[in-house]
Structure formats: structure tokens, C-alpha cells
């Protein structure tokens, strides 16, 4: 084998190895959107969405977590704990998305996304009511 061949082989091995590694990490980190029931049934990281149950949120100083509950369209309620900081527009959110694993009665969220009423929707409503 000449040098060129050797490098080609090394290059291909490196690329294949990287793609395999990346694909593995991709699959491992994928968080599907699921219902609350499905979230309770699995230990994988999942993504759930619901409306914040008003007044349910408080900062638990002992555990150093934010605790709150969200409710889906069917009225099912899911407790959430979150180690990070409460997002700024948390209380105005139309929907809170939590990504994490269900453990010990609550979803331990690694990340929260907050969906806010969009300006455009608000405007449309205003236009239609006026």
C-alpha cells in the first residue's frame, strides 16, 4: 500500500467513526414529544407540554428547585421540578414545555421552553373584536 492509500483508509475510518459516534449521540439525546401518561411510563428523556397550573409554582429552597405543575388538554396534571432559573415570561405563557425524565412522581426538567401569546395573534384578535 502506498501512503496515499493509508491516508485514505485513515480518513474513511475517521469519518465513519465520527458519523457513528454522532448518530449514537443523536439517538441518545432525542427527546420526543409525549403525553403525560407516556412520560410517566418511561425513564427516557421526553418532552411534555401543558398549561401552567396557576399558583402551583414556588421556589423550594431546601431542594433548591423550582416546582410547578402543568395541565394538558385532557385535564391531566404533571408535576415538574426544575433546577434552573424561572424563565422571565413564565406566568404569561400560554404553554410551558418541559424536557426531562420522569422520576419520583415528577418530571425532572433539564430545560424549559415558554411559549408566549404572539403579538400577531393578539393583533388578529383585536382586529376581529373591534
Amino acid at each position: 500500500m502506498n501512503r496515499r492509500m493509508v491516508w485514505t483508509v485513515i480518513g474513511i475510518v475517521a469519518i465513519v467513526g465520527f458519523v457513528a459516534f454522532g448518530a449514537g449521540a443523536f439517538k441518545a439525546n432525542l427527546t420526543p414529544y409525549v403525553s403525560f401518561q407516556q412520560a410517566r411510563a418511561t425513564s427516557d428523556a421526553v418532552q411534555v407540554a401543558g398549561k401552567l397550573v396557576e399558583g402551583s409554582d414556588f421556589f423550594d429552597e431546601k431542594a433548591s428547585v423550582l416546582r410547578f405543575a402543568i395541565q394538558d388538554d385532557h385535564g391531566d396534571v404533571m408535576k415538574i421540578t426544575y433546577k434552573g432559573l424561572k424563565p422571565g415570561n413564565f406566568h404569561e405563557a400560554t404553554q410551558v414545555v418541559a424536557i426531562g425524565r420522569f422520576h419520583g412522581g415528577a418530571l425532572e426538567a433539564e430545560k424549559l421552553l415558554v411559549k408566549c401569546p404572539s403579538k400577531y395573534q393578539g393583533l388578529d384578535q383585536k382586529a376581529s373584536t373591534s
Partner: protein, 859 residues
């Protein structure tokens, strides 16, 4: 539609189409058409810039008929944020992008030489694609179906998070970078079209560098903004919006290196064509991802589908067809020159670096597109930050290792100082590594990344120094940029792998130990009613140095949104980052004596004798807007006399806050200034801590609901409106309560008397409990509720609740390296832009003959 604005956009569009047409004519051999094409381009540029000015004018003059003005600005914005409203929304930022695109085209025409006709045809198409979006979704359109009477008097305002200096300059820099990616793309397609496969890289290298410098700067400005204002403690969250600009940046960095490689070695033409097309397609793809609403469920940013998704997809397909189509069309014609290079050569290292950069870009691209990819197979899902972190970490290590080695390689082998320079850089990295381990660095991959980053920094620093000593200042730019990159990578590793954080709740004036710092919450500072309130947290460091952190937490009145800003205290080796979590304003003690005193009057409260000596408004002199009223009191009791000055602060129009002042000698006793009667000069004091007379319990009751106190139950039966006649100015309302559970059940009716004499209360004695009275509090006629207050002279003292403030304290080691590295990187990058730009223009000047003249096009 605001006509002047709409007309300028149409003029811009038509003249750009005309320009494109004349360039095609010029290509067909009508040499005179090129002049017209340039003029049409100039006209279009002017029209686009005027459109920008018109929109700014509409915003500044508050023309709320215009949907864009209404949605993103309001009357209260200062002028600098009004101007920045131009790029606060979707339509405006497309306009900004287009403005930059048109401006960038002017020097492009001047320097494109024999590529001009073809390049400008492609470049114009890129601008037209933006203009079409603006014509579809015009920033000048009025709010739909608005009659003259319905014109809003005020707008919805600019997102408070965007009212920040960093966010005002971030988009203009960002969109210059985006606009500049169209230049290498247009050149590449023109080169393929005209079969001139080499010189285009020289002409577009400065522009690719502009993209790298501006996008890099903008991305990190965005990160810095997030760090200092958002309060989640980081500068990078792998959010789709961030990734959408990161991927083109990495691709542009790969392109720059590919072009330098082609310049030096005369090879890798196909690579550069692919990279130039790819960089632009990635910009368009990123725009599609972030502006179409396809990722609406997966990002902290709310993306709204404006109904331009089809156009964005069309642009993407168009860019791909033109770019990759041209590439495939000419692929087999592009000359390629195979050749072997020794491994330790700049050539091989560049190729590996480009591959590693593309690997990073692909990783981020795939991760960001996860919802689209998974939609094909199952339900749309996204990947978390750990995907990006774990995959990019090994590539980062490889890249930093290459970065450190490459300065002492030349294109075909090693330089003579290769060994000793790398040994020196390696030794420095090793020493830093040992120090890092000694102070607690851990984790194999992190330490490895740190070592190679420091290695990259020091070896590039040595090379920069070598270049400067040899007076080759211009060549130093590239190395200097990499010095900055090494610093940034070191800062990123250290600050993200080794940060420590702890959450703590602080009561007012209480000290807590957090990670070696002593934190004391000193209250809320709101010097003027219009200023945003800041929480004062005194931080005493282990060495005894003290500073006052001022994190902010306030409600934006317009959007009613809680806004929290962290306090960042910068030290040489670390940042102390104090971020608000929750603020509880506390509660004044309720069962206390309330005293109403005029100046010089004395009254008893528990064992105390309190005299009101007069007002103190000393704080008023410093700042006219600051309103603080103090009441000077002399308090006698337990054999001592003390003077205290409880005060109240204006927190907003008609709103005041008061802090109780502790009374020495009595545990838990305090006095607070509850109110001031400006006419009579009386003060209203609340003395707490002695029990008696105050509210022992309170509850809001509907009809039929019950409040339990001790052994009794008080059930709200109905309002007594027998003496209620507002027209006769009789506002007397009673609340009939049934008392059960005690020895003497019965009915009591506490009353509220409104009307001319001012509000007063007629309390009702509770049968069976001597000394206990019931008072009516707030009544809500709509909800039919009443607040019932139980006053008990024998109740134990209620200390109230102090203000509480929960914060997240994070120590971020060495994060300053990231920002200072960025400054070095930008300095080096700008030097490189100037160098490559000069090289190109001198090449143009000296080669004014054969190879750059029109006659050669057919060769």
C-alpha cells in the same frame, strides 16, 4: 400600505430586475448595457436605503397605522431604541439585510472585473429573493381593516429584553455577515458559469473574511447580551436561532481556509466551489428554519409563521439549484491536480481542519434540524444541549491541536523552528495544565481540551511575535486571530466545565454564607419612580473585600412580563454572577397597634410611649425624583429612650413601600411608617411585636363560607344593605355573620361607614370571646365577597414577614478569557481582511492587462 414606502420597494425591485436584465444583455455582447446595469443597480440601492429611512421615519413619528410600527414600538421608547426598532421585527430585519446586501454590491461591482456581469446576475438574484419577501410581507402595510377612528394611540412596544445596547448593535453586524456570504456564492457561480476557476477566490476571500469577522462578532455579542441580561448564567444555549448563525459562520471559516489553500497550492478548486455555495445555502436554510415557524415548538424564541414559509422554501430551493446545479454542471471540467503532501505540512493540516470544521457544522446542522428529520420517521423531536456538547468536544480537541501546530508548518513541510517553538508552546501549556489540575481541574476530555487550547494560544502567540520581529505586521493578522481563538477556547472550557453555583434565599438584612461569600440582602433600591427597581445584595468576599450587587427583578408594565437581570461582578480570574430567582416583598406585621399622630403628639403602644417629632426628608435633596419620607420618633420604654426614623419610599405612582424599623430592647418589636396625611400633617404608624388589638386572622368569604377562630366558626350570611343609599351619600354596609360553636351562638354585624366623613369601621364584639372583635375589610360587590378581620387583644405578636430574595450565585472562572479572546480574534481578523483586500486590489492594479480584461473571458 404606506405608499411612499411601498413605492420605494417596488422601484428597488424593478430596477434590480432591470439591472439583472442589462447584465445579461452585456454578457450577450452589448457592452453598453453594462453601464445601464450599474446605474439600475445604483438606483435600486438608493431606493432600498430610502425605504429604510422611510421606515425609520414612520417609527420615529409614531405612525401607528403601520402594523410594524404598532407591533414593535411605542411612545415611551427613547430615540436610540426607536431607530433600532427598524430591525426588531421580521420584516425590518429582512430590510436591514437587504440594505447591507445592496451596499456590499457597490464595491463588488467596482472590483469584480471580468467576473462582473455573471457575478452581478447571480448577486442580483440573491437580493431579489429578499425583496420578494419584503413585497409579500411589507413593513409598510397598515393594520388590516382600520377605520380612521381606530388608529391606535400607542404601540405595543419593543420587547424589554431587546432594550439593551448590545442588542441594538447585534443585528446590524449580523446582517452584514449574512449579506457578505452572497459575494463568494455569486463569484463561485459566476466562475463556474464563465469557466474561470481560479481568480474568483482572490476576489471573494476578503468578503469571506468579512463574514467570519462580522458573524463571529455578532454571535458572541448575542452571547454576551444573554450573559449580562438574561440571567440563566450562560452565553450559549444551542438554541436554533443561535445555531442558525453559527453554522454559516463555521462554513465561512472553512471557506476562508480553503481559499487560502487554493491560493498557495493551486489546488482544491472543487472544495472551494462547494464551500462557497454551501456557506450561502446554509444562511438561506438558517433563515428558513428560524423564520418559517417550523421550529415553533422547539425554541425559546417564539417564531411566528408570517405566511412567508413558501417564499423561504422557494429561496432555499433556488439557491441550491443555482449553486449546486452550476457545480454539477461544470464538475468534470474543473481542473484538479492530485499530489502527495507530507503529513506534517500546512496543506494536510488545512485539509484536516476544514474537514473538522465541516464535521462541527454538520453536527450543529443535524442537531438543529432534528425536529424536521424526525418528523419524517416519527413525531418531531429535538436534541438537547448535551448532544452538541458531547459531539463537538472531541472535534474541538482535534481542531485546537491543529491550530497549535500549523503556525510552524509551511505548505510542504516543517519550518526550521518547528521543534523548539512547539516544545516551548507545549511546555507552557503543560505548566498551565499542572496549575489547572492543582486548583481543581478534572475530567479527562476537559483537561485535554484545555491543554490543546492553551497550546494553540501560545504557539500562535510565538508565531505572531516572530512575524512582528521580522516586521511582517500584515502577515501577523491571521496568527493573531488564532491567538484570540485559543484564548476563547480556554475561556469556554474553564468557565463552562468548572463553574460552581448555589441557590440561596435571603431574608432582609440576613447574612448567608455561599461558596465562601457572605451575602446580605439590603433591600430594594428604587431611586426614582420611573427607574427599574434593583435588589441590593452586599457580597463580602473571603478576602474581606465587599461590593454591592444590584440584580434587578421587575415587572414590565407594558407586557406585564417579569424581567430579571443578573448582576455580574468581574474579577481578574472569575466573574461572580448573581441572578434573581424570586422576590417576595414580605408583609408588614398585622397585629400591631396602629397610631395616628400629629407633630408633637404622644401615644401609648404596649409598654411604649411614642412621640412624633416631625418629618425628615433629607433624602430629597440629592435627587428631586427620589421620594422618601421619614418620621422622627422618640420612643420611651423599659427605662430607655431611643430615636428612630422609619421611612417610606415611593415605588411608583401612588405606590409606597415601608420597611419596619426594629425597636431596641424588645425582641421582635418594630415600628413602621404606614402612611402620611399631607393635609393634617399626621403620620400613621404600625407598632408590632406587642400583640393586642391587631389583626389576628383574616379571610375573604363568600356567602355561606366560614372563618374559624379559636373554638368559634363565623359564617358569612349576607350583606346588610338596610342603610345603603349612594344617592343620599349613605355608604353604610354591614356583613351579617353567624357565630356558632361557642357557648353563646348568635349573629353579629360589623359595619363599614363610607361617605363624607371618610371611611370608618364599626367593629362587632364576638360573643363568648372577650376582647375579640370583628371588622370588615375589602368588599367586592361583583364577586360578592367580604374580607373579615378578627382583632384580638390577647393574640400573640405577629412579627410579619420580611422581604425575601432568592438568588442563584455562580462563580465563573476565567470567563474573561472568552471576551478578551474575542477582541484579539476580531483585531486579527480585521488585519486579515485589510491584508487580503489590499492584496487583491494591488493584484488588480498590476494586472490591468491580459488576464483581467474582457477579451480573455472566452479562454
Amino acid at each position: 400600505m404606506f405608499l411612499p414606502g411601498a413605492i420605494t420597494l417596488w422601484v428597488a425591485f424593478l430596477s434590480l430586475v432591470a439591472s439583472t436584465y442589462f447584465y445579461v444583455r452585456s454578457l450577450r455582447g452589448h457592452a453598453e448595457a453594462r453601464m445601464w446595469a450599474r446605474q439600475a443597480y445604483g438606483l435600486s440601492t438608493a431606493a432600498v436605503l430610502i425605504a429604510g429611512c422611510v421606515l425609520v421615519y414612520l417609527i420615529v413619528t409614531h405612525d401607528f397605522r403601520v402594523h410594524y410600527v404598532y407591533s414593535y414600538s411605542d411612545l415611551s421608547l427613547p430615540i436610540r431604541y426607536l431607530v433600532s426598532t427598524l430591525w426588531a421585527g421580521q420584516e425590518g430585519s429582512f430590510l436591514l439585510w437587504l440594505m447591507w446586501g445592496m451596499v456590499v454590491g457597490l464595491p463588488l461591482i467596482r472590483y469584480a472585473q471580468h467576473y462582473e456581469d455573471r457575478t452581478m446576475v447571480v448577486y442580483n438574484l440573491a437580493q431579489i429573493s429578499l425583496l420578494l419577501i419584503l413585497l409579500k410581507q411589507s413593513p409598510f402595510r397598515f393594520i388590516a381593516d382600520l377605520t380612521p377612528g381606530q388608529i391606535p394611540t400607542d404601540g405595543e412596544g419593543l420587547n424589554p429584553l431587546l432594550q439593551n445596547p448590545w442588542m441594538t448593535i447585534h443585528p446590524p453586524i449580523m446582517f452584514l455577515g449574512y449579506a457578505a456570504t452572497a459575494v463568494p456564492f455569486a463569484f463561485a457561480v459566476a466562475a463556474l458559469w464563465g469557466r474561470r476557476y481560479d481568480e474568483w477566490t482572490k476576489a471573494s476571500l476578503p468578503w469571506a473574511l468579512v463574514t467570519v469577522v462580522t458573524l463571529g462578532c455578532a454571535i458572541l455579542l448575542g452571547g454576551y447580551w444573554a450573559y449580562v441580561t438574561l440571567g440563566w448564567g450562560g452565553y450559549w444555549g444551542w438554541d436554533p436561532v443561535e445555531n442558525a448563525s453559527l453554522v454559516p459562520w463555521i462554513a465561512s471559516a472553512a471557506l476562508v481556509h480553503g481559499m487560502i489553500l487554493q491560493r498557495a497550492r493551486g489546488r482544491f478548486r472543487k472544495l472551494n466551489f462547494s464551500l462557497a455555495v454551501l456557506a450561502y445555502v446554509l444562511v438561506v436554510y438558517g433563515t428558513f428554519l428560524t423564520r418559517s415557524g417550523v421550529l415553533a415548538d422547539f425554541s425559546v424564541h417564539s417564531f411566528v409563521d408570517l405566511g412567508i414559509t413558501g417564499w423561504l422554501v422557494g429561496n432555499l430551493v433556488g439557491a441550491m439549484v443555482i449553486g449546486f446545479g452550476a457545480l454539477i454542471w461544470r464538475w468534470r471540467e474543473i481542473p484538479s491536480e492530485p499530489g502527495d503532501e507530507p503529513f506534517f505540512s500546512r496543506t494536510v493540516f488545512f485539509v484536516v481542519a476544514i474537514a473538522a470544521l465541516l464535521g462541527t457544522a454538520a453536527t450543529v446542522l443535524v442537531g438543529t434540524s432534528a425536529p424536521l428529520i424526525t418528523r419524517l420517521a416519527t413525531k418531531p423531536s429535538q436534541v438537547g444541549p448535551s448532544f452538541y456538547n458531547s459531539v463537538t468536544l472531541p472535534i474541538g480537541i482535534v481542531l485546537a491541536a491543529l491550530l497549535g501546530t500549523v503556525p510552524f508548518l509551511h505548505w510542504k513541510g516543517t519550518t526550521k523552528e518547528f521543534r523548539n517553538r512547539l516544545l516551548a508552546a507545549g511546555a507552557f501549556a503543560a505548566v498551565c495544565g499542572v496549575v489547572a489540575l492543582a486548583v481543581g481541574a478534572h475530567g479527562f476530555l476537559y483537561v485535554a481540551f484545555l491543554l490543546v487550547s492553551i497550546f494553540a494560544f501560545s504557539s500562535n502567540l510565538l508565531k505572531t511575535w516572530d512575524e512582528i520581529r521580522q516586521r511582517r505586521f500584515r502577515a501577523a493578522g491571521g496568527y493573531l486571530a488564532h491567538v484570540g481563538l485559543g484564548l476563547m477556547l480556554s475561556g469556554i472550557v474553564i468557565s463552562s466545565a468548572y463553574d460552581r453555583s448555589q441557590k440561596v434565599t435571603l431574608a432582609l438584612n440576613e447574612s448567608r454564607q455561599v461558596m465562601g461569600y457572605t451575602l446580605t440582602f439590603k433591600g430594594v433600591d428604587k431611586p426614582t419612580p420611573n427607574e427599574r427597581q434593583a435588589m441590593l445584595v452586599e457580597v463580602r468576599e473571603a478576602g474581606g473585600r465587599t461590593y454591592v450587587a444590584r440584580p434587578r427583578m421587575f415587572r414590565n408594565e407594558k407586557t406585564n412580563q417579569m424581567v430579571a437581570n443578573p448582576d455580574v461582578h468581574v474579577r481578574l480570574t472569575h466573574d461572580v454572577y448573581v441572578s434573581p430567582i424570586e422576590f417576595d416583598p414580605g408583609r408588614l406585621p398585622e397585629n400591631g397597634d396602629t397610631l395616628d399622630l400629629g407633630k408633637g403628639q404622644t401615644a401609648k403602644a404596649g409598654p411604649l410611649e411614642i412621640t412624633f417629632d416631625g418629618f425628615e426628608m433629607a433624602a430629597n435633596h440629592a435627587d428631586t425624583g427620589k421620594l422618601t419620607i421619614g418620621a422622627k420618633l422618640t420612643i420611651k420604654g423599659a427605662g430607655r429612650t431611643q430615636t428612630l426614623t422609619p421611612a417610606m419610599h415611593a415605588t411608583g405612582p401612588g405606590e409606597f413601600s415601608a420597611e419596619p424599623v426594629a425597636i431596641a430592647g424588645f425582641d421582635g418589636a418594630s415600628v413602621a411608617l404606614g402612611g402620611v396625611n399631607a393635609n393634617s400633617g399626621h403620620v400613621h404608624l404600625t407598632v408590632a411585636g406587642f400583640g393586642g388589638g391587631g389583626i389576628a386572622k383574616r379571610a375573604v368569604l363568600r356567602k355561606g363560607e366560614t372563618l374559624a377562630y379559636k373554638n368559634l366558626s363565623l359564617t358569612f350570611d349576607d350583606f346588610d344593605l338596610s342603610d345603603f343609599d349612594p344617592e343620599a351619600n349613605k355608604i353604610n354596609i354591614g356583613a351579617v355573620l353567624k357565630v356558632t360553636g361557642g357557648a353563646k351562638p348568635g349573629e353579629i354585624t360589623p359595619r363599614f361607614h363610607g361617605g363624607e366623613g371618610g371611611p370608618s369601621y364599626e367593629d362587632a364584639d364576638v360573643p363568648g370571646l372577650p376582647g375579640v372583635k370583628v371588622r370588615t375589610g375589602k368588599m367586592d360587590p361583583n364577586q360578592k365577597t367580604v374580607e373579615i378581620q378578627v382583632l384580638d387583644a390577647t393574640a400573640p405578636p405577629d412579627p410579619g414577614e420580611p422581604m425575601r430574595f432568592s438568588v442563584d450565585v455562580t462563580v465563573k472562572p476565567m470567563i474573561g478569557l472568552l471576551w478578551s479572546g474575542l477582541v484579539v480574534l476580531l483585531t486579527g481578523g480585521i488585519m486579515a481582511v485589510v491584508r487580503r483586500g489590499d492584496e487583491f486590489s494591488t493584484a488588480v492594479a498590476s494586472q490591468a492587462g491580459p488576464s483581467f480584461s474582457e477579451t480573455e473571458v472566452k479562454s
